[in-house]
């Protein structure tokens, strides 16, 4: 696929009605907020109903549950439909991260399980993990150097 022409993109941007921007912003806001509220409901469920006492465990369980729900929705092609409406509301939450992994996995399945599915799984999410882990190690080293400020 050819990269879109710069002039063409500029023309599109000019013609695009401004009100659409507000519509997409509103959609992203309420869908993103709603996904976080589902996370909050799961957190309440795990801490109050399932009686998980460690706070970190509760947030891990919440994350895993959200990932599972997203993966199933992505498998059935439903998350893509939500994404078409929600825009950033479906990208910014952790569900967007899960969706990018699962949809890459499904998309490249044709090329085989090892070289297709497995090696392309992190096409979008890979940078997140690389940057995330690298920056966390950097932070750890900074903490070691300036220990006093963090205690």
């Amino acid at each position: 696929m050819n990269a879109p022409d710069k002039e063409y993109l500029a023309l599109i941007r000019e013609r695009m009605p401004k009100s659409r921007h507000f519509a997409t912003m509103f959609r992203a806001f309420w869908t993103g907020g709603l996904i976080c509220c589902i996370g909050e409901a799961l957190t309440l469920f795990y801490s109050e109903v399932a009686k998980v006492s460690v706070e970190d465990d509760v947030s891990s369980l919440t994350t895993i549950t959200l990932i599972l729900i997203t993966a199933i929705l992505t498998g059935f092609g439903i998350y893509d439909k939500i994404g078409a409406y929600a825009g950033a509301g479906s990208i910014v939450p952790i569900t967007g991260f899960a969706n990018s992994v699962v949809s890459s996995a499904i998309e490249h399945k044709r090329e085989g399980v090892v070289l297709g599915l497995c090696s392309n799984m992190f096409q979008v999410a890979g940078p997140v993990i690389v940057f995330g882990i690298s920056s966390s190690i950097l932070v750890g080293i900074i903490v070691l150097i300036f220990k006093g400020a963090f205690i």
């Binding site: 993103g32 996370g39 909050e40 939450p93 979008v124 070691l144």
Partner: protein, 120 residues
């Protein structure tokens, strides 16, 4: 008040997504870059000690968006460095993120095997 918590969650979570949408609308940035940007913002805000206030206020609204993933990584690295020195500094972040990353890999693998790719 439980509804207050949900309202705060909604507002903070929604606000992060709103920022993401503004970035998409005005810069035509790709979603991979948005994810990385939010993640690094989370790492930075946690390191300077600001994110814990956002988390206290926003509950899941602060932990569910990818920016919360970044803050969890940084928090893990900080705790690791303080407890285990250099080894903790290296492994602390990924330890904090391990449940999420492991779940994503396993679940995506299984769903990928089961689901059929749709023809475009």
């Amino acid at each position: 008040m439980i509804w207050m918590d949900f309202l705060k969650t909604f507002l903070i979570g929604g606000a992060f997504c709103l920022i993401g949408q503004i970035l998409i609308n005005n810069t035509k940035i790709t979603s991979a870059r948005i994810l990385v940007g939010f993640l690094l913002a989370g790492v930075l805000l946690e390191t300077v000690g600001v994110y814990k206030y956002i988390r206290e206020f926003g509950n899941s609204g602060a932990t569910v968006p990818i920016i919360g993933f970044g803050s969890a990584l940084a928090r893990g690295a900080i705790e690791g460095a303080l407890q285990n020195g250099i080894l903790g500094a290296v492994s602390g972040g990924i330890e904090a993120a391990a449940p999420g990353i492991a779940a994503v890999i396993f679940i995506a693998f299984v769903v990928g095997l089961v689901a059929t790719p749709k023809t475009k």
